[in-house]
Amino acid sequence: MKLSSFKRALWVFHVASGSCNGCDIEIVAALTPRYDVERFGIRLVGTPRHADVLLVTGPVTRPMAERLRRVYEQTPDPKAVVVVGGCGSTSGVFYESYNVVGPVDEIIPVDVYVPGCPPRPEAIIDGVVKAVAKLEKLEAGETV
Protein backbone atom coordinates (compact mmCIF):
# COMPACT_ATOMS: atom_id res chain seq x y z
CA MET A 1 0.00 0.00 0.00
CA LYS A 2 1.20 3.41 -0.88
CA LEU A 3 0.43 6.77 0.46
CA SER A 4 1.53 8.55 -2.68
CA SER A 5 -2.04 9.23 -3.75
CA PHE A 6 -2.46 11.20 -0.54
CA LYS A 7 -0.39 13.88 -2.09
CA ARG A 8 -3.09 14.91 -4.52
CA ALA A 9 -6.30 13.63 -2.98
CA LEU A 10 -6.76 15.02 0.48
CA TRP A 11 -10.12 15.16 2.10
CA VAL A 12 -10.32 17.63 4.91
CA PHE A 13 -12.73 17.84 7.80
CA HIS A 14 -13.02 21.06 9.72
CA VAL A 15 -13.64 21.09 13.46
CA ALA A 16 -14.21 24.37 15.26
CA SER A 17 -13.38 23.82 18.89
CA GLY A 18 -14.46 27.21 20.14
CA SER A 19 -12.91 29.48 17.57
CA CYS A 20 -13.96 33.05 16.89
CA ASN A 21 -14.84 32.25 13.28
CA GLY A 22 -11.96 34.20 11.84
CA CYS A 23 -10.01 31.10 10.88
CA ASP A 24 -13.15 29.32 9.79
CA ILE A 25 -14.02 31.90 7.17
CA GLU A 26 -10.47 31.84 5.89
CA ILE A 27 -10.75 28.07 5.49
CA VAL A 28 -13.88 28.55 3.41
CA ALA A 29 -12.17 31.35 1.50
CA ALA A 30 -9.49 28.80 0.59
CA LEU A 31 -12.18 26.79 -1.21
CA THR A 32 -13.51 29.62 -3.29
CA PRO A 33 -12.32 30.82 -6.68
CA ARG A 34 -9.37 32.98 -5.67
CA TYR A 35 -7.59 30.20 -3.81
CA ASP A 36 -9.50 27.12 -5.04
CA VAL A 37 -7.87 24.29 -3.12
CA GLU A 38 -9.76 21.75 -5.20
CA ARG A 39 -7.16 22.19 -7.90
CA PHE A 40 -4.74 20.46 -5.53
CA GLY A 41 -7.28 17.73 -4.95
CA ILE A 42 -8.10 19.04 -1.48
CA ARG A 43 -11.78 18.79 -0.63
CA LEU A 44 -13.78 19.72 2.42
CA VAL A 45 -15.98 16.80 3.48
CA GLY A 46 -18.99 16.69 5.75
CA THR A 47 -18.07 13.85 8.03
CA PRO A 48 -14.88 12.81 9.83
CA ARG A 49 -15.28 9.27 8.43
CA HIS A 50 -14.26 10.54 5.00
CA ALA A 51 -11.43 12.72 6.21
CA ASP A 52 -7.65 12.42 5.91
CA VAL A 53 -6.81 15.69 7.56
CA LEU A 54 -8.53 17.35 10.49
CA LEU A 55 -8.38 21.12 10.49
CA VAL A 56 -8.89 22.29 14.05
CA THR A 57 -9.55 25.93 14.84
CA GLY A 58 -9.90 27.66 18.16
CA PRO A 59 -8.79 27.21 21.75
CA VAL A 60 -10.48 24.10 23.00
CA THR A 61 -13.44 24.86 25.24
CA ARG A 62 -14.46 22.49 28.01
CA PRO A 63 -17.48 20.97 26.25
CA MET A 64 -15.61 20.69 22.94
CA ALA A 65 -12.63 18.79 24.34
CA GLU A 66 -14.36 15.45 24.58
CA ARG A 67 -16.08 16.01 21.24
CA LEU A 68 -12.78 16.79 19.57
CA ARG A 69 -11.34 13.59 20.96
CA ARG A 70 -14.29 11.69 19.55
CA VAL A 71 -13.94 13.24 16.10
CA TYR A 72 -10.27 12.29 16.16
CA GLU A 73 -11.22 8.71 16.99
CA GLN A 74 -13.81 8.61 14.21
CA THR A 75 -11.34 9.65 11.56
CA PRO A 76 -9.94 6.60 9.84
CA ASP A 77 -6.17 6.12 9.76
CA PRO A 78 -3.79 7.31 8.41
CA LYS A 79 -4.64 10.85 9.35
CA ALA A 80 -3.02 14.15 10.18
CA VAL A 81 -4.13 16.99 12.39
CA VAL A 82 -3.53 20.58 11.39
CA VAL A 83 -4.20 23.35 13.89
CA VAL A 84 -5.20 26.58 12.22
CA GLY A 85 -4.71 29.83 14.08
CA GLY A 86 -2.85 31.19 17.04
CA CYS A 87 -5.39 30.31 19.69
CA GLY A 88 -5.48 26.65 18.74
CA SER A 89 -1.69 26.51 18.69
CA THR A 90 -0.96 28.25 21.97
CA SER A 91 -4.30 29.31 23.46
CA GLY A 92 -3.51 32.84 22.25
CA VAL A 93 -5.47 35.57 23.96
CA PHE A 94 -7.75 33.06 25.64
CA TYR A 95 -5.72 32.27 28.72
CA GLU A 96 -6.92 32.07 32.30
CA SER A 97 -10.49 31.16 31.66
CA TYR A 98 -12.64 28.57 33.40
CA ASN A 99 -13.93 27.21 30.15
CA VAL A 100 -10.81 26.92 28.00
CA VAL A 101 -8.84 23.69 28.35
CA GLY A 102 -6.72 23.96 25.19
CA PRO A 103 -4.53 24.41 23.27
CA VAL A 104 -5.42 21.65 20.85
CA ASP A 105 -2.24 19.64 21.39
CA GLU A 106 -3.26 19.01 24.99
CA ILE A 107 -6.29 17.14 23.72
CA ILE A 108 -5.23 15.31 20.56
CA PRO A 109 -1.87 14.82 18.86
CA VAL A 110 -1.11 17.58 16.41
CA ASP A 111 1.08 17.32 13.33
CA VAL A 112 1.20 20.83 11.93
CA TYR A 113 0.61 24.27 13.45
CA VAL A 114 -0.44 27.18 11.27
CA PRO A 115 -0.01 30.39 13.27
CA GLY A 116 -1.78 33.64 12.50
CA CYS A 117 -4.86 35.43 13.69
CA PRO A 118 -6.24 34.29 11.38
CA PRO A 119 -3.72 32.75 8.97
CA ARG A 120 -4.14 33.67 5.34
CA PRO A 121 -5.73 31.03 3.10
CA GLU A 122 -2.35 30.45 1.45
CA ALA A 123 -0.88 29.59 4.84
CA ILE A 124 -3.69 27.16 5.56
CA ILE A 125 -3.13 25.38 2.26
CA ASP A 126 0.58 25.26 3.01
CA GLY A 127 -0.19 23.72 6.41
CA VAL A 128 -2.27 20.97 4.85
CA VAL A 129 0.46 20.25 2.33
CA LYS A 130 3.03 20.05 5.14
CA ALA A 131 0.82 17.54 6.90
CA VAL A 132 0.94 15.33 3.83
CA ALA A 133 4.69 15.65 3.65
CA LYS A 134 4.76 14.38 7.19
CA LEU A 135 2.65 11.36 6.33
CA GLU A 136 5.00 10.63 3.47
CA LYS A 137 8.01 10.73 5.72
CA LEU A 138 6.29 8.18 7.90
CA GLU A 139 5.82 6.06 4.82
CA ALA A 140 9.53 6.24 4.16
CA GLY A 141 10.11 4.93 7.66
CA GLU A 142 11.66 8.08 9.01
CA THR A 143 10.83 9.19 12.47
CA VAL A 144 9.24 12.56 12.61
Binding site: S5, F6, P33, D36, R39, F40, G41, P76, P78
Partner: protein, 330 residues
Protein backbone atom coordinates in the same frame (compact mmCIF):
# COMPACT_ATOMS: atom_id res chain seq x y z
CA UNK B 1 -21.10 -16.59 -28.79
CA UNK B 2 -19.06 -18.74 -26.54
CA UNK B 3 -19.07 -18.29 -22.80
CA UNK B 4 -15.36 -17.53 -22.79
CA UNK B 5 -15.83 -14.89 -25.43
CA UNK B 6 -18.63 -13.28 -23.43
CA UNK B 7 -16.46 -13.35 -20.35
CA UNK B 8 -13.65 -11.56 -22.15
CA UNK B 9 -16.01 -8.95 -23.45
CA UNK B 10 -17.57 -8.50 -20.03
CA UNK B 11 -14.19 -7.93 -18.41
CA UNK B 12 -13.23 -5.50 -21.15
CA UNK B 13 -16.48 -3.57 -20.82
CA UNK B 14 -16.27 -3.48 -17.02
CA UNK B 15 -12.69 -2.28 -16.88
CA UNK B 16 -13.11 0.06 -19.81
CA UNK B 17 -16.35 1.32 -18.32
CA UNK B 18 -14.80 1.94 -14.92
CA UNK B 19 -11.88 3.76 -16.46
CA UNK B 20 -14.18 5.82 -18.58
CA UNK B 21 -16.49 6.51 -15.68
CA UNK B 22 -13.66 7.97 -13.64
CA UNK B 23 -12.39 10.02 -16.59
CA UNK B 24 -15.88 11.41 -17.13
CA UNK B 25 -16.18 12.19 -13.46
CA UNK B 26 -12.89 14.07 -13.63
CA UNK B 27 -14.04 16.03 -16.67
CA UNK B 28 -17.35 16.72 -14.95
CA UNK B 29 -15.62 18.13 -11.89
CA UNK B 30 -13.21 20.17 -13.98
CA UNK B 31 -15.97 21.69 -16.08
CA UNK B 32 -18.15 22.37 -13.06
CA UNK B 33 -15.23 24.15 -11.39
CA UNK B 34 -14.59 26.18 -14.53
CA UNK B 35 -18.22 27.23 -14.60
CA UNK B 36 -17.92 28.30 -10.98
CA UNK B 37 -14.97 30.53 -11.77
CA UNK B 38 -12.41 28.12 -10.37
CA UNK B 39 -9.57 26.19 -11.89
CA UNK B 40 -10.76 22.86 -10.59
CA UNK B 41 -9.02 19.59 -9.90
CA UNK B 42 -6.98 17.77 -12.53
CA UNK B 43 -8.93 15.34 -14.66
CA UNK B 44 -7.21 12.37 -13.04
CA UNK B 45 -8.50 13.47 -9.64
CA UNK B 46 -11.13 10.68 -9.29
CA UNK B 47 -8.40 8.06 -9.80
CA UNK B 48 -6.39 9.67 -7.03
CA UNK B 49 -9.43 9.82 -4.78
CA UNK B 50 -10.23 6.15 -5.28
CA UNK B 51 -6.59 5.19 -4.86
CA UNK B 52 -6.45 7.06 -1.61
CA UNK B 53 -9.69 5.64 -0.28
CA UNK B 54 -8.39 2.14 -0.91
CA UNK B 55 -5.41 2.87 1.34
CA UNK B 56 -7.53 4.29 4.11
CA UNK B 57 -8.79 2.38 7.10
CA UNK B 58 -12.31 1.02 6.67
CA UNK B 59 -14.27 1.70 9.80
CA UNK B 60 -17.47 -0.11 10.66
CA UNK B 61 -19.32 1.77 13.38
CA UNK B 62 -20.30 -0.21 16.44
CA UNK B 63 -23.94 0.66 16.01
CA UNK B 64 -24.05 -0.66 12.45
CA UNK B 65 -25.39 -3.98 11.21
CA UNK B 66 -22.05 -5.30 10.12
CA UNK B 67 -22.82 -7.70 7.28
CA UNK B 68 -25.37 -5.43 5.64
CA UNK B 69 -23.13 -2.42 6.07
CA UNK B 70 -20.24 -4.17 4.31
CA UNK B 71 -22.32 -5.96 1.69
CA UNK B 72 -24.17 -2.96 0.28
CA UNK B 73 -21.24 -1.18 -1.39
CA UNK B 74 -20.41 -4.39 -3.30
CA UNK B 75 -24.02 -4.83 -4.29
CA UNK B 76 -24.20 -1.26 -5.56
CA UNK B 77 -21.02 -1.62 -7.61
CA UNK B 78 -21.99 -5.00 -9.05
CA UNK B 79 -25.42 -3.76 -10.06
CA UNK B 80 -24.02 -0.63 -11.66
CA UNK B 81 -21.43 -2.71 -13.51
CA UNK B 82 -24.00 -5.22 -14.69
CA UNK B 83 -26.10 -2.47 -16.25
CA UNK B 84 -23.16 -1.67 -18.51
CA UNK B 85 -23.18 -5.25 -19.78
CA UNK B 86 -26.76 -4.83 -20.96
CA UNK B 87 -26.11 -1.65 -22.87
CA UNK B 88 -25.05 -1.45 -26.50
CA UNK B 89 -21.61 0.19 -26.62
CA UNK B 90 -21.48 2.15 -29.83
CA UNK B 91 -21.35 -0.27 -32.75
CA UNK B 92 -21.24 -3.35 -30.50
CA UNK B 93 -24.21 -5.30 -29.30
CA UNK B 94 -24.67 -5.57 -25.57
CA UNK B 95 -22.54 -8.29 -24.02
CA UNK B 96 -25.53 -9.83 -22.31
CA UNK B 97 -28.05 -9.04 -25.04
CA UNK B 98 -29.38 -12.55 -25.10
CA UNK B 99 -29.94 -12.79 -21.40
CA UNK B 100 -32.44 -10.12 -20.54
CA UNK B 101 -34.06 -6.98 -21.63
CA UNK B 102 -34.73 -3.39 -20.87
CA UNK B 103 -36.90 -4.21 -17.85
CA UNK B 104 -33.91 -5.90 -16.25
CA UNK B 105 -31.91 -2.72 -16.85
CA UNK B 106 -34.58 -0.71 -15.09
CA UNK B 107 -34.41 -3.03 -12.10
CA UNK B 108 -30.63 -3.02 -12.05
CA UNK B 109 -30.53 0.75 -12.15
CA UNK B 110 -32.66 0.80 -9.03
CA UNK B 111 -30.41 -1.66 -7.20
CA UNK B 112 -27.55 0.73 -6.34
CA UNK B 113 -30.09 3.18 -4.92
CA UNK B 114 -31.70 0.46 -2.84
CA UNK B 115 -28.27 -0.78 -1.76
CA UNK B 116 -27.31 2.70 -0.68
CA UNK B 117 -30.56 3.08 1.22
CA UNK B 118 -30.06 -0.26 2.98
CA UNK B 119 -26.47 0.70 3.74
CA UNK B 120 -27.77 3.93 5.23
CA UNK B 121 -30.26 2.05 7.39
CA UNK B 122 -27.58 -0.44 8.38
CA UNK B 123 -25.19 2.29 9.49
CA UNK B 124 -27.39 3.03 12.49
CA UNK B 125 -26.77 6.76 12.29
CA UNK B 126 -29.76 9.10 12.28
CA UNK B 127 -28.33 10.98 9.31
CA UNK B 128 -27.88 7.70 7.47
CA UNK B 129 -31.47 6.76 8.18
CA UNK B 130 -32.88 10.10 7.06
CA UNK B 131 -30.76 9.81 3.92
CA UNK B 132 -32.05 6.30 3.32
CA UNK B 133 -35.67 7.39 3.69
CA UNK B 134 -35.04 10.18 1.23
CA UNK B 135 -33.35 7.81 -1.23
CA UNK B 136 -36.39 5.54 -1.17
CA UNK B 137 -38.81 8.43 -1.67
CA UNK B 138 -36.68 9.57 -4.60
CA UNK B 139 -36.69 6.06 -6.03
CA UNK B 140 -40.45 5.93 -5.89
CA UNK B 141 -40.65 9.37 -7.48
CA UNK B 142 -38.46 8.88 -10.52
CA UNK B 143 -39.10 5.24 -11.34
CA UNK B 144 -42.59 5.84 -12.62
CA UNK B 145 -41.86 8.45 -15.28
CA UNK B 146 -38.77 6.44 -16.24
CA UNK B 147 -40.86 3.30 -16.67
CA UNK B 148 -43.42 5.19 -18.77
CA UNK B 149 -40.67 6.36 -21.12
CA UNK B 150 -39.19 2.92 -21.58
CA UNK B 151 -42.52 1.16 -21.98
CA UNK B 152 -43.68 3.74 -24.52
CA UNK B 153 -40.58 3.20 -26.64
CA UNK B 154 -40.75 -0.57 -26.38
CA UNK B 155 -44.42 -0.61 -27.30
CA UNK B 156 -43.78 1.45 -30.41
CA UNK B 157 -40.86 -0.75 -31.44
CA UNK B 158 -43.02 -3.83 -30.93
CA UNK B 159 -45.42 -2.29 -33.43
CA UNK B 160 -42.64 -2.34 -36.03
CA UNK B 161 -42.21 -6.09 -35.65
CA UNK B 162 -38.42 -6.01 -36.02
CA UNK B 163 -37.48 -8.29 -33.16
CA UNK B 164 -37.97 -8.71 -29.44
CA UNK B 165 -39.41 -5.35 -28.43
CA UNK B 166 -38.08 -5.15 -24.91
CA UNK B 167 -34.51 -5.82 -25.96
CA UNK B 168 -32.19 -2.85 -25.80
CA UNK B 169 -30.32 -4.13 -28.83
CA UNK B 170 -33.51 -3.93 -30.87
CA UNK B 171 -34.31 -0.49 -29.53
CA UNK B 172 -30.84 0.72 -30.38
CA UNK B 173 -30.85 -0.85 -33.81
CA UNK B 174 -34.18 0.72 -34.74
CA UNK B 175 -34.18 4.39 -33.85
CA UNK B 176 -37.78 5.50 -33.79
CA UNK B 177 -37.29 9.05 -35.02
CA UNK B 178 -37.44 7.99 -38.66
CA UNK B 179 -40.26 5.50 -38.17
CA UNK B 180 -42.92 7.82 -36.79
CA UNK B 181 -44.94 10.70 -38.10
CA UNK B 182 -44.88 14.33 -36.85
CA UNK B 183 -47.07 13.53 -33.85
CA UNK B 184 -44.78 10.69 -32.92
CA UNK B 185 -41.72 12.93 -33.19
CA UNK B 186 -43.37 15.35 -30.79
CA UNK B 187 -44.11 12.47 -28.43
CA UNK B 188 -40.52 11.27 -28.64
CA UNK B 189 -39.24 14.76 -27.88
CA UNK B 190 -41.40 14.83 -24.75
CA UNK B 191 -40.18 11.42 -23.67
CA UNK B 192 -36.58 12.45 -24.31
CA UNK B 193 -37.00 15.52 -22.12
CA UNK B 194 -38.55 13.43 -19.35
CA UNK B 195 -35.60 11.07 -19.49
CA UNK B 196 -33.16 13.96 -19.30
CA UNK B 197 -34.91 15.25 -16.17
CA UNK B 198 -34.96 11.80 -14.63
CA UNK B 199 -31.24 11.30 -15.27
CA UNK B 200 -29.84 13.63 -12.56
CA UNK B 201 -32.46 12.31 -10.14
CA UNK B 202 -31.49 8.72 -10.87
CA UNK B 203 -27.89 9.73 -10.20
CA UNK B 204 -28.68 11.76 -7.05
CA UNK B 205 -26.98 14.87 -8.38
CA UNK B 206 -27.92 18.45 -7.51
CA UNK B 207 -30.75 19.53 -7.52
CA UNK B 208 -31.73 16.00 -6.57
CA UNK B 209 -28.86 15.15 -4.24
CA UNK B 210 -31.08 15.16 -1.19
CA UNK B 211 -30.12 11.69 0.06
CA UNK B 212 -26.61 12.92 0.74
CA UNK B 213 -27.22 16.64 1.15
CA UNK B 214 -24.03 17.69 2.82
CA UNK B 215 -25.29 20.77 4.60
CA UNK B 216 -28.45 19.10 5.85
CA UNK B 217 -27.53 15.60 6.84
CA UNK B 218 -23.77 15.68 6.47
CA UNK B 219 -23.46 13.27 3.58
CA UNK B 220 -26.53 11.32 4.70
CA UNK B 221 -26.27 7.77 3.46
CA UNK B 222 -22.53 7.92 3.19
CA UNK B 223 -21.97 9.47 6.59
CA UNK B 224 -20.55 6.36 8.25
CA UNK B 225 -18.78 4.87 5.26
CA UNK B 226 -15.04 5.12 4.93
CA UNK B 227 -12.09 3.55 3.17
CA UNK B 228 -12.77 0.69 0.76
CA UNK B 229 -16.53 0.75 1.27
CA UNK B 230 -16.63 4.42 0.38
CA UNK B 231 -14.41 3.78 -2.65
CA UNK B 232 -16.86 1.14 -3.87
CA UNK B 233 -19.79 3.53 -3.59
CA UNK B 234 -17.68 6.17 -5.32
CA UNK B 235 -17.04 3.78 -8.22
CA UNK B 236 -20.67 2.67 -8.30
CA UNK B 237 -21.74 6.28 -8.56
CA UNK B 238 -19.32 6.95 -11.41
CA UNK B 239 -20.36 3.77 -13.24
CA UNK B 240 -24.01 4.53 -12.82
CA UNK B 241 -23.48 7.97 -14.35
CA UNK B 242 -21.98 6.44 -17.46
CA UNK B 243 -24.59 3.69 -17.57
CA UNK B 244 -27.45 6.15 -17.34
CA UNK B 245 -25.96 8.37 -20.02
CA UNK B 246 -25.37 5.31 -22.22
CA UNK B 247 -28.98 4.26 -21.69
CA UNK B 248 -30.21 7.66 -22.86
CA UNK B 249 -27.95 7.35 -25.90
CA UNK B 250 -29.17 3.83 -26.66
CA UNK B 251 -32.81 4.79 -26.39
CA UNK B 252 -32.82 8.07 -28.25
CA UNK B 253 -29.63 8.74 -30.17
CA UNK B 254 -28.26 5.34 -31.22
CA UNK B 255 -26.96 6.65 -34.53
CA UNK B 256 -23.46 5.93 -35.74
CA UNK B 257 -21.45 8.12 -38.07
CA UNK B 258 -19.35 5.45 -39.73
CA UNK B 259 -22.08 4.20 -42.08
CA UNK B 260 -23.14 7.65 -43.37
CA UNK B 261 -19.49 8.52 -43.90
CA UNK B 262 -18.99 5.30 -45.76
CA UNK B 263 -16.31 3.95 -43.49
CA UNK B 264 -16.61 0.27 -42.69
CA UNK B 265 -14.59 -2.42 -41.01
CA UNK B 266 -12.43 -1.86 -37.95
CA UNK B 267 -11.94 1.82 -38.73
CA UNK B 268 -15.69 2.34 -38.79
CA UNK B 269 -16.13 0.52 -35.54
CA UNK B 270 -13.49 2.64 -33.86
CA UNK B 271 -15.06 5.78 -35.26
CA UNK B 272 -18.49 4.72 -34.04
CA UNK B 273 -17.12 3.86 -30.63
CA UNK B 274 -15.52 7.27 -30.37
CA UNK B 275 -18.73 8.91 -31.50
CA UNK B 276 -20.62 6.90 -28.91
CA UNK B 277 -18.29 8.15 -26.19
CA UNK B 278 -18.82 11.71 -27.35
CA UNK B 279 -22.59 11.22 -27.24
CA UNK B 280 -22.40 9.78 -23.72
CA UNK B 281 -20.31 12.75 -22.70
CA UNK B 282 -22.77 15.21 -24.22
CA UNK B 283 -25.70 13.63 -22.40
CA UNK B 284 -23.76 13.68 -19.15
CA UNK B 285 -22.71 17.26 -19.66
CA UNK B 286 -26.25 18.38 -20.42
CA UNK B 287 -28.08 16.38 -17.79
CA UNK B 288 -25.56 16.30 -14.96
CA UNK B 289 -22.79 18.90 -15.11
CA UNK B 290 -24.71 21.97 -16.22
CA UNK B 291 -27.75 21.11 -14.14
CA UNK B 292 -25.79 20.64 -10.97
CA UNK B 293 -23.99 23.92 -11.47
CA UNK B 294 -27.12 25.90 -12.24
CA UNK B 295 -29.58 24.87 -9.54
CA UNK B 296 -30.08 24.84 -5.80
CA UNK B 297 -30.97 21.61 -4.07
CA UNK B 298 -34.69 20.97 -3.96
CA UNK B 299 -36.60 19.53 -1.07
CA UNK B 300 -37.80 15.96 -1.08
CA UNK B 301 -41.48 16.89 -1.14
CA UNK B 302 -40.89 19.33 -3.99
CA UNK B 303 -39.22 16.57 -5.97
CA UNK B 304 -41.82 13.94 -5.16
CA UNK B 305 -44.65 16.27 -6.11
CA UNK B 306 -42.86 17.42 -9.26
CA UNK B 307 -42.11 13.92 -10.44
CA UNK B 308 -45.38 12.26 -9.59
CA UNK B 309 -47.72 14.77 -11.18
CA UNK B 310 -46.25 17.10 -13.83
CA UNK B 311 -43.41 14.89 -15.03
CA UNK B 312 -45.53 11.76 -15.18
CA UNK B 313 -48.14 13.78 -17.04
CA UNK B 314 -45.57 14.85 -19.62
CA UNK B 315 -44.41 11.25 -20.01
CA UNK B 316 -48.01 10.09 -20.40
CA UNK B 317 -48.59 12.80 -22.99
CA UNK B 318 -45.57 11.51 -24.90
CA UNK B 319 -47.00 8.00 -24.74
CA UNK B 320 -50.38 9.20 -25.90
CA UNK B 321 -48.85 11.03 -28.86
CA UNK B 322 -47.03 7.86 -29.87
CA UNK B 323 -50.31 5.94 -29.70
CA UNK B 324 -52.11 8.56 -31.79
CA UNK B 325 -49.25 8.56 -34.24
CA UNK B 326 -49.45 4.79 -34.55
CA UNK B 327 -53.14 5.14 -35.26
CA UNK B 328 -52.42 7.71 -37.97
CA UNK B 329 -49.32 6.18 -39.53
CA UNK B 330 -50.48 2.62 -38.97
Amino acid sequence: MSVLNALWQAILVLFGGTFLALVYKGIDRKLAAQMQGRIGPPIRQPFLDVGKLLVKETVVPRTAVRWAFNLMPFLALIAAGTVLLYLPIGPFRPVLSGYGDVIVVLYLLAVPAVAMALGGFASGSPFGVVGAQRELVMLMSYEFPLAVVVVALAWRVAGLGVGPAFSLATLAANPLWAQVGPLGVLGLVLLFLVLLVVTPAELSKIPFDIPEAETEIAGGLMVEYSGVNLALFYLADALKTVAMAALVVALFIPYGIAAPLGISGVGGQILDLAFFLVKVFCVMFAAVTTVRVAFARLKVDQIARGFWIPLTAVAAAGLLLLVLDKAVVG
